[in-house]
Amino acid sequence: MSDRLAVNRPLAHDSAAKHVAGEAVYIDDMPEPSRCLEVYVAWADRAHARLLKLDLDAVRRASGVVAVVTTDDIPGHTDISPVGRHDEPVFAAETVQFWGQALFAVAACDVHTARRAAGLAVIAYEDLEPRLDVDAARAAEDYVWPPAHFVRGDTEAGLARATRRLDGRVTMGGQDHFYLEGHVALAIPGEDGDMTVFSSTQHPSEVQHMVAHVLGIPSNSVTVEVRRMGGGFGGKETQSNLFACVAALVARKTSRPAKCRLDRDDDMIMTGKRHDFTVDYKLGFDDDGRIEAVDMHFASRCGYSADLSGPINDRALFHADNCYFYPDVSLLCHPCRTNMASATAFRGFGGPQGMVAAERVIEEIAIACGLDPLEVRKRNFYGDGERAITPYHMTIEDNVIERVVAEVEKDSDYWTKRDAVRRFNAENRWQKKGLALTPVKFGISFTMTAYNQAGALVHIYKDGSVHLNHGGTEMGQGLFVKVAQVVAEELQLPLERIKITATTTAKVPNTSATAASSGSDLNGMAAQAAARTLRDRLTAFAAEQHQAEPSEVYWLPGRIAVKGNEIAFADLVHDAYMARIPLSATGFYKTPEIHWDRAAGRGKPFYYFAYGAACSEVTIDTLTGEYRVDRVDIVHDVGRSLNPAIDAGQIEGGFIQGMGWLTTEELVWDEQGRLRTHAPSTYKIPTCADRPEIFNLRLLENENPKATIHRSKAVGEPPLMLAISVWQALSDAVAATADHQHPARLDPPATPEKVLMAIGRLAEIEATKEAAE
């Protein structure tokens, strides 16, 4: 147990007591203000078409309709591209660019009336050919963002020199966020044209900016607030903008409060998802499985607009090495424009997709060389000197992957289990087992350097109670309790004395999204700085009062000691107030050291890396393709944990979410570009019954060598990629059906159908071989 008062302790989530009583308030639970309208956003049922006619007369006339809002009702800008590309209209204008694109909004006293009325619109389209695949986009060279290219060494020469050569392609699916609370915003008009918006968003400052932008008013007229989200996972980083803006437009037009809440189908149809990727790879390696050269060409379906696709595609490249040193390497990525909802941030932000490609490389080499994949992994780990340099020319200084993997190897008893799996597979014809131990190295920081800043605001009231606010948002990840722990530690107060308050743009301005796993790194430091300012003021005051040096003032739990006197915190605060010491302070933090030159493909984009490894054991049924995950062992590096209970929850949850992405969660678009899996009846996230029977998790004994908040490490995203071990174990089991003679080439999501097809493919190869003999 920690000797600290508040940090390093497994304290409960700040809202836990409210959650178990059903008392925690989400935006849709807030009492609606009087005369509140409900808004339905009507969308296009074409993936690509010219909008010839949009006749809304019947909608306007429908009983119960209070207002209809179209592009013509937008007083300010009609575009809400979060990256200033002007490619994201609030409502489709001349051209519809994806199935589900917003056309207009209807407001009524209840959303059902509004939705029914929307159906009365008379719309005429001229259909255009929808573009749905990366090959067509590449042929047209139509990218939502300039392609990135990371190069080190001479890849062509490296490939030519290599003892062995191998080419292949891996495709991987996207993922719907499926936050249990869908998108929702409540806009309340105020005097002077002001607007207050309660938005379920990870990025209140951006919502504020966008609402101001569409209303044509300055940001200081808009306040955005969010107390909590019912899950975010990246899906509420930019995707909340539209619904907040629509609610605000209705509120502006009608001078009445307006709420826009999506039902599940509309949410899945209208909003962006994780990017799917196709990766073509060329590998050079030697007989011992050592990588000599890697050439990878990534392409993703970004949907119709840029959104965050630029940095997401970059992050795929940043993680296409995972933990492995590539002597000669070329990594190229094409962010392709397609007629789909604009793909967006999702936990890992492209990193998982890069890592899947890296692990496919290892799988291929292991099969080709007849080696255990774990052996191949170890032989290619980053090392020292020249072998510590990434494809983007950053030197890795904090590598602990060998230690992490060694611990998982031991915990899972890998080699004994490998023998057991081999025996099982020899003895069983219809069931096969698979085993895989995969590592994770994930870079921490926003690759856009400017985003790595945060602010906080701390007040101490006369009674000694403390009010805490910062720019981070709470989506369940436990950020609020972690930051409160930091402040409690600084002021040596019990956690209950720190009031956690809703994120609002009125208290801390110009914040970054709560994303990139950076929430506690950035906001923890900012809050610590604010608390430290107050503590320093109180220390100086106490020293002066007792004719002591500040160094003679000691902070003890709930009190200070100075020159033999002990003064309770509340008394100290009261005296300080009487002496006119300011008891409110802001804090600010910016991450040091980082820089990135995208054009050159060089820099230090990450302050540090988080590491982890997982070993998964699976059993597949070769007749049906069905499978189960028997056991998982994880060791994960969170530095010195701020809150081990919260961190364990992030790791468990991230793992299962990653497992869903790689196994059962399959998004299907038809040839017309219509998403066919837009409800939980057809889109399967993991349930309780899908989780591994045995699940062992340990936090690595480590501390961050960098001066992060109490030497902790970010934990939001990295664990998601531990689930790659499940996919690799499934591949291993499939390969076992043909005695590991061929790679399984099982492309995620590895649904039972895909497993069955992969088994079929191997059987065919074997049959052809036999026929030839």
């Binding site: 409960a12 059903g22 009983s63 249990l180 599940r264 309780c688």
Partner: protein, 164 residues
């Protein structure tokens, strides 16, 4: 919002909600969970999918867990309804609540009320369910955050707790 639109027929129902009699006129197409949330302000039951899949809207009707999004308010005529608010106030969830609290079996909390009511139903019928049984019983309640590990731990812990 009270969802009796101008042109929509309403019906009078008589129910008991969390122990108190409630007489109300409800829209015939209004779901039970919408009525509880919008008209009675019982917002502890959440709406996650409106498809009967996620379990966030779970409420207890005449002693049985149902999906509040799949049942119409008019169907509750004559029934006794218990929501998370009532179950919590009654104290019958105390052991589970404490276990969820101490084992960090929640993150965003959106699934929590439904999980608790479903778990309570399991424990009412099975004193010492094994983990397999718990997994099975909760497999109709989605949680996107926790990965379920802590939830199963918590239900298992609650089943052996003295508070029961």
């Amino acid at each position: 919002m009270t969802a009796i639109a101008n042109d929509e027929p309403g019906l009078e129902i008589e129910t008991v909600v969390n122990g108190a009699p409630v007489r109300a006129r409800v829209a015939v197409r209004q779901s039970l969970v919408d009525w509880l949330r919008d008209d009675l302000g019982l917002t502890g039951s959440h709406v996650g999918c409106e498809h009967g899949v996620c379990g966030a809207c779970t409420v207890v009707v005449d002693g049985v867990c149902v999906r509040g999004c799949l049942m119409l308010a008019v169907q509750a005529d004559g029934a006794s309804i218990e929501t998370i608010e009532g179950a919590s106030a009654s104290g019958r969830l105390a052991a589970l609540q404490e276990a969820f609290y101490t084992r960090a079996a929640l993150q965003c909390g959106f699934c929590t009320p439904g999980m608790l009511l479903t778990a309570a139903e399991l424990l009412a019928g099975d004193d010492k369910p094994d983990r397999e049984t718990i997994r099975e019983a909760l497999s109709g309640n989605y949680c996107r955050c926790t990965g379920y590990q802590a939830i199963i731990d918590a239900v298992e812990a609650a089943s052996t707790s003295e508070k029961r």
